[in-house]
């Protein structure tokens, strides 16, 4: 068999005999330099040549190998133990692989021999293979890093040297490729790159123990932000970070990650008087202690942009008010007859313009309100009020509007006065929004029911209409800006589309929440909650210690 190969492949069979010997040791040393590989490669060819001659001689006149031959044989064994070797013919078909090749690639020898050499390259690396072939056919040696395709779908990084085998006329009759597995060092290098990138990330990265809260890692941004260097931070704990926080609240947040009720949490914090978005995750590495990883993104720039945007909106809205004052005023005077009689048709047109000027004023006012709330500039004068008194006032203010739609507003009082610390004007604004909305969407002749109820230290104010209802798909976005539900059955004037956003913002500014429940064709209930001013002070948060045994 080997002789047939000899006949067919010339010098290759003896090499096959040598390279198929088992690896004698696992070599873990780093890859030799390209130059060293080159000379090793040359040695392989030289050794092959020497051994062929030796074998041929041995067939005719057996004799003991010389010392040089023994030395060369040792070198080839060492090479086989270390390197992944492939021999190809002039058509770049694999004619031989050594045991290391089989071991590294996971392919059997029979799966490899006879295949084109391109077969051991990944599809993305075929260009590299083409480049190597061009080098070889120019009679040049190629060196570089390549990926060896493995049977299991993975690959090994190899330091590769491919040498052309030339005949006496300098014609390429095949190649010898020698590879050293550098996957481990390559992976380590990639990991170093990742760590290095993490270290230089513009976001601050803080890792702290889930058990002791001891700081385990800070990247450069975090070190600079906290003014703790590499020597100092390992002596610190997460609670030493001076962000405006309530330790109990922080523990309760962390507990959610520990319990698995959340995979990651995002919240805003302030640090060094700057706003940050903190993203927190619990990582349980295979080795080492469980840790929280916090990535802090500086929001100063975003906050500044928001401020500029809000200021712009505010300025534009105010600037709009002057011309609106003139437009509305002029049309109001024309309609009043202050400028003389006008034809009914003209009056109708001016009425349309006047109505839309009113709507524009409403939009501008609502935008200004939302902007004020967003910028924290809306003033809330909190005083103790009976919500029923405000509700009755809202009904009185909206009765005329409801009558336009032939709708009656009824109120149902709670068993006892519902005292709450609120800004009465703002709650009146909320109720006016809800009642006017309910009136617009009610069926003529129906009733709007407004109720106040108290339970568990909270009051709930609800406004229910018997109207067209809100489609299920619209419910999720009903409190978002500029969301309007069409009401084809009514000729109600369109609002600003901001009313419910304002309701939500005002209620939330009071520490309450809003909700909506609707059945299309039957009606809608919008409710909001407010704390009972007479409820006992809330019991202290009884969040259990995060990890009790290690919280010291």
């Amino acid at each position: 068999m080997r002789f047939r190969q000899l006949n067919k492949a010339g010098l290759l069979a003896p090499l096959a005999a040598l390279t198929s010997s088992p690896a004698i040791a696992q070599v873990t040393d780093p890859a030799p330099s390209n130059q060293a590989l080159y000379w090793l490669g040359v040695s392989v060819v030289a050794v092959c040549a020497g051994l062929v001659a030796t074998r041929l001689r041995a067939q005719t006149a057996p004799r003991e190998p010389s010392e040089t031959e023994k030395q060369l044989a040792h070198e080839v064994r060492a090479l086989n133990a270390h390197a992944i070797v492939l021999v190809a013919d002039s058509r770049m078909r694999i004619v031989h692989v050594n045991d290391r090749f089989v071991e590294a690639s996971g392919f059997t020898r029979s799966e490899l021999v006879g295949r084109p050499t391109s077969w051991i390259y990944l599809s993305n690396d075929q260009k590299t293979h083409g480049e190597i072939c061009r080098h070889i056919f120019d009679g040049k040696t190629w060196s570089g890093e390549t990926r060896l395709r493995c049977k299991d779908g993975t690959y090994r990084w190899t330091q590769t040297t491919i040498i052309p085998r030339l005949d006496e006329n300098g014609k390429v009759i095949g190649t010898v490729g020698i590879r050293t597995d550098i996957t481990a060092s390559k992976t380590a290098s990639e990991e170093r790159d990742i760590v290095s990138a993490l270290h230089r990330l513009s976001d601050a990265v803080v890792m702290f123990s889930a058990d002791s809260f001891r700081i385990l890692y800070l990247n450069e941004t975090a070190m600079s932000l906290l003014d703790w260097n590499e020597a100092r931070y390992p002596t610190k704990r997460m609670f030493d970070i001076d962000f405006e926080h309530d330790p109990d609240e922080v523990r309760s947040v962390l507990q959610k990650l520990v319990n698995g009720t959340a995979n990651s949490l995002s919240f805003e914090i302030r640090l060094s008087d700057r706003p940050f978005l903190a993203n927190l995750q619990l990582v349980r590495p295979a080795a080492g202690e469980a840790r929280f990883v916090a990535i802090l993104r500086d929001l100063s720039e975003r906050e500044e942009m928001d401020r500029a945007k809000n200021e712009f909106i505010s300025t534009v809205s105010h600037e709009l008010r002057s011309p609106l004052t003139s437009i509305k005023g002029a049309m109001g005077l024309v309609l009043s007859g202050a400028a003389g009689e006008i034809s009914p048709k003209a009056a109708e047109l001016v009425e349309i313009a006047h109505r839309n000027a009113d709507r524009l004023v409403l939009i501008v006012n609502d935008i200004l309100d939302l902007e004020k709330i967003a910028a924290g500039r809306m003033e809330f004068t909190l005083e103790r009020h009976d919500l029923m008194v405000i509700l009755r006032e809202a009904r009185a203010a909206n009765n005329a509007y409801a009558e336009r739609f032939q709708v009656k507003i009824s109120v149902r009082p709670p068993a006892a006065p519902a005292w709450a610390n609120v800004d009465a004007d703002r709650i009146l604004q909320v109720l006016t929004n809800l009642l006017s909305n309910a009136a617009k969407f009610s069926r003529p002749g129906s009733e709007i029911l407004a109720t106040v109820s108290t339970e568990g230290g909270r009051h709930t104010v609800s406004v229910t209409d018997r109207g067209v209802g809100i489609p299920q798909e619209a419910l999720a976005t009903i409190f978002e800006r500029f969301q309007q539900v069409d009401n084809p059955g009514h000729n109600a004037p369109r609002g600003s589309g901001l009313g419910l956003s304002i309701v939500k913002a005002i209620v939330e500014s009071h520490g309450g929440s809003v909700s909506v429940d609707s059945t299309p064709g039957e009606g809608t209930t919008v409710s909001f909650t407010l704390d009972d001013a007479d409820a006992d002070a809330a019991a202290p948060d009884e969040t259990p210690p995060l990890i009790a045994a290690n919280s010291s």
Binding site: H318, R321, S322, P323, L324, T325, S326, K328, G329, A330, G332, L333, S336, A338, A339, V361, K372, R377, M378, E379, T381
Partner: protein, 126 residues
């Protein structure tokens, strides 16, 4: 007897609307100025019963103007009303603290402006 109003407003159209709204009732007579300095120059010769002023005006704000007018002889107690698009509670309070009787929010309703002013004056302490 008509009430003499010194109206200071930088927006010409709003001046026109206010003039029409108030004068059509027959109960008001207006002298209008487009800026603070113009009002300071005109005020002594007019002797108004009421100062009606915009707040946000270029050069001299309504608040600065009122402070200057108060220094003029005979203007220490002249009732003053501001008209403004900004009407947050603290802003209204600041204007009242300055000596204004009330603040009318823009856009105002031209048909009820006269009534609004009369109501404010009626509610003012004598």
């Amino acid at each position: 007897m008509t009430l003499r109003i010194l109206h200071v407003e930088d927006d010409e159209d709003i001046r026109e609307i206010a003039k029409l709204s108030l004068e059509m009732t027959g109960e008001f007579e207006l002298m209008q100025c487009a800026s603070g300095p113009e009002a300071i120059a005109a005020a002594p010769g007019y002797a108004p019963d009421l100062l009606l002023m915009d707040v946000m005006m270029p050069g001299m704000s309504g608040e600065q103007l009122l402070a200057e007018l108060r220094k003029l002889p005979g203007f220490a107690d002249t009732p003053a009303i501001f008209m403004t698009a900004r009407a947050q509670p603290t802003e209204v309070k600041a204007l009242r603290d300055q000596g204004a009787l009330e603040v009318i929010v823009k856009p105002f309703d031209p048909l009820s402006l006269a009534t609004q002013i009369q109501d404010i004056l009626a509610a003012a302490p004598a």
